[in-house]
Symmetry: C2
């Protein structure tokens, strides 16, 4: 059995359960339960270390990652509902990981995907499972506030200079995060065939980078909606500083409040928060907002099968979120006879993006520790590592979908304009 590398869990913190648990006796039932746990999750090549240093691994496996379980309670909770309790017990330090958290999660997810209990298959209304808040106007506001309004200073520490919190695009695999985020914005603008003087409405604009980019580099007039108060405040301030005030307007409101008609509709990383129950509503907003010759682009995390996200993730990180399958996304388009022109899956770009975020997050751990407690830091490390793992092994996708009205023939015949600017179609 290969011994796991030393822990990369760089800042294990002491907690009561750890102090109490260490030195406690391990019984035969405990090793049997640990063995049972490994079986349940598909016997991944994983070394489990119990609180008295007893080690258990699937027979014949050569683990490269390890998991230290600090007390019996954590072991029992793992057996009952690993998808919920692993996260919470990792955050309190009752569980520690050896060999890299993202690598651990990849290893475990791969094995779980092969078991009947955790096999990913589509289920009706998967998005409703484990969801405490619906994405009504008020529900959306709460859900978005929970994640995005925890402090711009925190996000600044691990996002790029322009504060893009969505999948970047790496035309060169060694591009920096900064370069890749700019390349992503250019890709979006080229897919939308954006021209000077055209009007754009953006649904869910984050910290406003894409709207500023469209105005500055493509001469567009952009109206950008977002319900996160902190993000809107930041966006307005920055547009003002950069002299873009007349060309970019940030509106603190829900996508359902979008008014007017525009040459382009764009939404990057909002659909995950809309919920399939509201796709047709969003489609109706696009239907009334897009000019006859307009183009639309929706960029969203997606899935191959309609399965719910983990209950821990929904509870602690992104309440109300759901990454749709392409089939589910069609509820946006089909009722309004929109034409799908192009779909690109940028999954591996998102794995790279999340790796960059995680690296920067760890590099700035000390500063983050001044803002939040250790439990928060471990939750975010787990979330970012989980994203790296999910995009790497293909449990999550990133779909960029370009669409138009059905009879729009003012479109490019080939994709060469997406690679480089080739003029008006």
């Amino acid at each position: 059995m290969k011994v796991p590398k030393p822990s990369t869990c760089v800042a294990p913190f002491s907690c009561n359960s750890r102090k109490e648990a260490i030195g406690r006796r391990v019984y035969g039932t405990d090793t049997w339960l640990a063995r049972r746990f490994l079986q349940t999750i598909g016997d991944p090549p994983l070394l489990v270390t119990l609180w008295d240093d007893t080690k258990i691994a699937p027979p014949g496996s050569t683990p490269a990652v390890g998991m230290i379980i600090r007390d019996r309670g954590a072991l029992l909770r793992l057996l009952s509902n690993p998808q919920l309790h692993f996260g919470d017990d990792y955050c309190t330090g009752r569980i520690e990981i050896e060999g890299g958290l993202a690598q651990f999660m990849e290893t475990v997810y791969r094995a779980m995907g092969q078991t009947p209990r955790f096999r990913r298959t589509s289920e009706p209304a998967a998005y409703r499972r484990h969801q405490p808040h619906l994405n009504s106007l008020e529900g959306s506001r709460q859900n978005i506030h929970h994640h995005y309004d925890i402090g711009n200073d925190f996000y600044r520490l691990w996002l790029d200079d322009e504060m893009l919190y969505t999948c970047a695009y790496f035309p060169d695999p060694n591009a920096s995060l900064e370069a890749a985020q700019i390349a992503k914005m250019d890709l979006v603008c080229r897919k939308l065939c954006l021209r000077p003087g055209q009007t754009v409405v953006e649904a869910g604009c984050g910290w406003g980078a894409l709207a500023r980019h469209m105005a500055r580099h493509y001469g567009a007039i952009v109206k950008a909606y977002n319900i996160s108060h902190e993000q809107i405040a930041y966006s307005r301030e920055r547009a003002k500083l950069e002299g873009l005030e007349g060309r970019v307007e940030y509106v603190e409101d829900d996508y359902r409040a979008i008014a007017g008609t525009y040459d382009a509709f764009v939404s990057v990383g909002m659909l995950e928060h809309v919920g399939p129950d509201h796709y047709q509503e969003l489609g109706g907003v696009i239907e009334r907002s897009l000019t006859e010759q307009g183009l639309g682009l929706i960029h969203t995390i997606g899935q191959n099968v309609a399965a719910p996200l983990s209950p821990w993730f929904l509870k602690r990180i992104f309440p109300g979120s759901y990454p749709p399958t392409l089939r589910e996304m069609m509820a946006l388009f089909e009722p309004f006879e929109f034409t799908i022109l192009d779909v690109e899956n940028l999954r591996l770009h998102y794995a790279k993006t999340c790796e960059n975020w995680l690296d920067r997050f760890e590099q700035n751990r000390d500063q983050i520790r001044e803002m939040f407690d250790e439990r928060f830091i471990r939750a975010w490390r787990l979330y970012l590592s989980g994203c790296v793992a999910n995009f790497s092994i293909g449990e999550l996708q990133l779909f960029q979908v370009v669409f138009s009205r059905p009879g729009n023939n003012r479109i490019h015949l080939t994709r060469s304009h997406m690679i480089a600017d080739t003029g008006v179609p």
Copy 2:
């Protein structure tokens, strides 16, 4: 009112109904019925000429196309079910078109799409409407025989040299049909990242051009399935003549009989004949046929909404056919957790392809007349013109979908390999 251009219906033929009808009196009820017919189809800018030369057009319209109705029966049939009877009465000469058949159809389809009766909306099981044959093993055989086994000599007169009967790809809008068909095959091969020595299975190979192209230019070993006897005989003969026998095998059998595993699965223009009831079955065939790192490509006519094809088209041209929406196509992929990597809509390329076919068809009309009767010629002119119209106005789409298994990371990060060969991912 703008007078329509002289008839481009180049070979009007005499038929009994015409002789009987000309000179017959037109009553007030007839002009009222003609007016009613125009209203029903959304008042397109269309000049209707009745059998005694009475002319009717929507008030205020400036028609550029015209329709001559030769007798009262044809007028009544148009009123009862235009989508079925227009075709049959056009074929027998009871209806003539002035101003170009494709242009006429574009004009009429656009107007019909705006009416409540003919508005295109998704309906459950749209593909079952007007369908006499299901696509069981035997049903498929009958349906395919009906269209593809009417003589290779006929198809040779209006297809390209390689006998491709699917959407071409025009990297340059002025490319010849020959060049565009070769460009299409290269596009497919590049999307599949095809390398020398790789194995490919093709479902529904037509006259076998793609399989030969893959073997000749990409060094692939191809097994190609088709249930059309004439197409398989032609394919084998041609592969033999071109010295490709050892590298391309044509199998006269149904896609459901595909055996073995392959580095690539490809199907160009077959899904239209499969029927949504059998998509999951086809998905299962792909699931068992594709290697772990394999890529798949499905190229199919599609729609924005799940609406049935016209009953005339289903009766006379392609029984058992149905162009799916992207949502419906997902039944192929989602149950097997396939990842959609890329979707390209080549709709305008198909409009161009059909224009090329129609031109060549008309150029070779005299030779075709030696093979078939006038009714057949008019039916095929109507079919090809209808395709030009449907792809031009966006009632039909052409989706090229690339997919893989979920955890396949041996894929290109960008699309540059689709534009030009960039090596192994």
